[in-house]
């Protein structure tokens, strides 16, 4: 099937079937490496993309469901994004594999006013797993960016 996806502000034509998940289409056909597959069941958040500004799991999103929506990946955030800067300032990463998903999730939390306390931040990030265990610094980074 031919689909037109709006990715990071530009229209991209792709060839994707319903059994193709958005993350694979973005990686294989759009050439983006920010969204990543880890668990493959929507649990861990390394495949997070924003769909009309809301985080979703790209690894289980059938590609046609993204039609007509604005898709934002880490590559689509502005260079001076304050969440990115805060993650960097707070050294809130190790291997970095989960970090684009963390940043996008935090971006949405902050935009919607859901990062008002550490408790709320932990809750919002609960579905984004980091095996290096950088959570403490990530929580600090989100807290700082929210201020």
């Amino acid at each position: 099937m031919n689909l037109t996806l709006n990715v990071n502000g530009r229209a991209v034509d792709v060839d994707a079937e319903p059994h193709d998940m958005l993350v694979d289409v973005l990686r294989d056909q759009v050439g983006l490496t920010g969204p990543r597959v880890t668990c493959g069941v929507g649990l861990c958040g390394t495949c997070t993309v924003l769909l009309d500004g809301e985080p979703v799991s790209g690894c289980i999103l059938m590609a046609p469901l993204a039609q007509g929506k604005e898709i934002t990946t880490i590559e689509g955030l502005p260079e001076d994004d304050e969440v990115v800067a805060s993650f960097d300032r707070n050294h809130a990463f190790q291997c970095g594999y989960c970090i684009p998903g963390m940043v996008l999730t935090a971006r949405d939390m902050i935009d919607k006013g859901h990062a008002c306390s550490r408790e709320e931040i932990r809750e919002g990030l609960g579905g984004n797993l980091c095996r290096c265990g950088c959570y403490l610094k990530i929580i600090e980074a989100v807290e700082e960016a929210a201020q």
Partner: protein, 744 residues
């Protein structure tokens, strides 16, 4: 130096372009790991490559008697054990593996492979192959496998030429024990003893006199399960043959072991193998030694084109695990609390292949002795084959399993003696100049400060109410013997390039090397770049494991910087740590420096559900001198969080050898919701030496929690301490509460 680097803050100026793996770090610009401006192994590709899928055994033990491949498309390349007849066996400490086997030894063993033009084609092709088997009896538990007359997993024992076998092996003929390690302090040597002790209630008559001076003896058995590394990035390998030379781009912590092992497997000179290591999205031990590399190289040879292999998540789970173990500890003390003797029997379930299991057995052996003085120590560790997936390196390995048992036993002894648990530890701690059970003299020993720090973190008062509190102190070793080389080259543009094999797993190796080189060269961090580990370009290093890299590389780089000042454009640095232990007496140098740590916990247990609620989880790790403050903190926090999962819920489960939870829904790892109670400290000392701390805080966390839980009467022996196990420890399997009262 650290201060100067911190002045170059992102946001102070425009972000700089990223110029190659390792070149950037948090020391300049927005770190490209945050914005996905780096390539991981999984992002690396070779034009024209085909895709590999491994066909895996559905039975835990037996023979493959045939394949049905009629449904495969003509262009699909099919590989079986027939394709490996000219290849050598491999294995980092014991060469007991073949690239594709006719005789699978665990569910998931690689028995065949398909190569097809696309990943989807390869997946479909693999599903079309049917396999016929002839099953043989199998054995899964370490105590079952060491029992007299147990089914043998391997018909005979093997050895290895690899330099990962850094000590002599002691395989036990006619048993599943592929290595036995012993410690015997001088008075206990030379006794007439059984070769293998297969029973957990063995009376240990030959060494009973070691406990002659003990008034009180605690003798207990503990268990730890298999666990998964769960690197977020799966194993990803690209291989091609160029003019008879093998080039592999892969996520590995062991580039030089990889080169040597691949050369050996394919009968090549080491120089004819090139291993390039891109960034890794985590490893934690899972990306050590040969994993997907040999099969991918073989497939590329047969296909005559580049081949790529990326594992699915369930394959990552089955590729390598943390060793399950059973540990029996017998501790003897005088009535005044003085420790007299310690006896350890450690049974390490290494699964179908040894991998680094022999080394794990050795580490379990001495880490379980702990940072205490004894008149007598005797340890027997057995590395035992079973038909489970192979165990391998794992963040904090060996030490975690035996420290779980050892530090729980110290608290049991304190209870029996009626002595405060922290004071009992203090009374017996090793100090500067004391002799460890291996005969080596302790140096830079900080155990008392660590113990006091952890105790203070939970408000421990001597002989006070300790309900809900637990404190532990530990030592663990670093890979010894070990050597490292580094080169520093002055580039034409005036910058310096660090050439070192330390792989950037995510632990911040690039930043560590950058900061160290800048310090030794007395230049700005901007003037230093680090090249990717590439065996064609960088000098030898043992490997990026066991928290050894910062310690070893700091000295190799200092040496290289000195050499550069003498020789102008290229400086070579070399360090080696000598040592090692005699496998029969455990005497020698176990570790050229000791990782020292402590932990404490304060918690409550819901006495009707068994759920543990932590209010404080604390760890203090001795770092000596810190190279990179944030990196050190991240390593310590990460270790604690892994320790937390290990303590409370991480456990691989099997039914008849088949892993039943190889996914992140059925196997949980800690999330942001689980870490609210965590605090920690990285302990620095003026003039201290550089200590690694990539895993020091893993082992003390489970017993700190376990000791706190035990104060409520829940004596949990098996990890993880699930609510169910906690409750069963007091109420039995039926969970019948004696009171039935509602606590709320």
């Amino acid at each position: 130096m650290t201060q100067r680097a911190d002045q170059t803050r992102p946001g102070d100026g425009p972000a700089r372009a990223y110029d190659g793996p390792g070149a950037s770090s948090a020391v300049r610009g927005i770190n490209p790991r945050i914005t996905a401006q780096i390539s991981y192994s999984i992002d690396s590709t070779i034009p024209g490559e085909w895709h590999l899928r491994i066909i895996r055994s559905a039975i835990p033990a037996g023979r493959v008697t045939g394949f049905q491949t009629a449904l495969l498309d003509d262009d699909v390349i099919f590989l079986t054990a027939d394709d490996v007849s000219d290849l050598n066996t491999f294995g980092c400490q014991i060469a007991d593996q073949v690239v594709l086997t006719r005789e699978p030894k665990f569910v998931g063993d690689a028995i065949a492979a398909v190569v097809a033009p696309t990943a989807r084609d390869a997946r479909v092709a693999a599903s079309l192959v049917e396999v016929d088997y002839e099953a043989v009896p199998s054995v899964f538990g370490e105590m079952d496998a060491i029992a007299p007359g147990a089914q043998l997993v391997h018909a005979k024992h093997y050895t290895s030429e690899s330099d990962s076998a850094y000590f002599d092996m002691r395989p036990q003929d006619g048993t599943n024990v592929c290595h036995r390690f012993r410690i015997r302090t001088p008075a206990l040597q030379g006794r007439d003893e059984p070769e293998v002790v297969p029973h957990l209630d063995d009376p240990d008559d030959a060494l009973a006199d070691a406990f002659a001076d003990a008034d009180v003896i605690v003798d207990e058995v503990f268990h730890t399960p298999a666990a998964a590394h769960v690197p977020m990035e799966p194993h990803a390998t690209n291989a091609q043959w160029v003019d008879g030379r093998l080039e592999v781009t892969t996520g590995t912590q062991t580039p030089f072991n990889m080169r040597q092992d691949l050369a050996h497997i394919f009968g090549l000179a080491a120089e004819d193998v090139r291993v390039v290591v891109p960034f890794m999205g985590g490893a934690f031990g899972a990306k050590t030694f040969i994993r997907t590399e040999a099969i991918t190289a073989l497939a590329a040879r047969k296909a005559g084109r580049p081949v790529r292999c990326v594992l699915d998540r369930d394959e990552v789970f089955n590729e390598v695990t943390r060793h399950p173990s059973t540990v029996r500890i017998k501790l003897g003390a005088k009535r005044d609390g003085t420790f007299v003797a310690k006896r350890i029997w450690a049974y390490v379930n290494t699964g179908a292949y040894a991998d680094c299991g022999p080394g794990v057995a050795q580490k379990m052996g001495y880490a379980g002795v702990g940072p205490y003085r004894f008149d007598h120590v005797a340890v027997d560790s057995y590395c035992i084959y079973t038909n489970l997936p192979p165990g391998g390196a794992f963040r904090g390995y060996g030490a975690m399993q035996s420290i779980w048992a050892a530090e729980r036993v110290v608290d049991m002894m304190a209870d029996k003696l009626g002595i405060d648990a922290v004071e009992l530890r203090r009374q017996n701690l090793l100090h500067e100049g004391d002799t460890f059970c291996t005969g080596e003299v302790m140096h830079d020993a900080r155990f008392e400060e660590l113990l006091d720090d952890a105790a203070a973190a939970v408000g421990w008062e001597k002989d006070g109410d300790r309900r809900g509190k637990g404190v532990v102190v530990i030592l663990k070793g670093m890979q010894t013997p070990s050597k490292a080389e580094a080169r520093i080259e002055l580039l034409p543009d005036g910058r310096y390039e660090v050439q070192a094999a330390t792989a950037d797993i995510g632990q911040g190796a690039g930043e560590m090397l950058t900061r160290l080189a800048a310090e030794y060269l007395k230049v700005e961090v901007d003037q230093v770049v680090v090249c990717a580990p590439d065996t064609d370009r960088v000098p030898y290093d043992t490997r990026t494991t066991s928290s050894r890299s910062t310690h070893m590389m700091s000295r190799a780089l200092a040496d290289a910087a000195r050499d550069l000042q003498v020789h102008g454009t290229i400086g070579h640095g070399y360090v080696s740590n000598d040592g090692g232990l005699d496998p029969d007496t455990g005497q020698g140098i176990a570790s050229s420096h000791w990782h020292q740590g402590s932990a404490s916990a304060e918690l409550e247990v819901d006495d009707e559900t068994g759920i543990i609620s932590l209010s404080t989880l604390y760890a203090c790790s001795y770092a000596g001198k810190v190279i990179n403050k944030h990196g050190a903190e991240l390593q310590n926090e990460g270790s604690m969080i892994l320790g937390l999962g290990t303590a409370l819920f991480e456990e691989l489960q099997y039914t008849e050898g088949q892993m039943t939870n190889p996914n992140l829904s059925d196997y949980n790892i800690a999330s942001a919701l689980d870490v609210a109670s965590i605090r920690h400290r990285v302990m620095e000392v003026p003039g201290g030496e550089v200590h690694g701390l990539g895993e020091t805080a893993v082992p003390p966390v489970p017993p700190a929690i376990g000791n706190a839980v035990a104060t409520f009467g829940y004596d949990v022996r098996d990890l993880p301490m699930t609510p169910e196990r906690v409750l069963a420890a007091r109420l039995g399997d039926t969970f019948q509460s004696p009171t039935g009262e509602d606590p709320q």
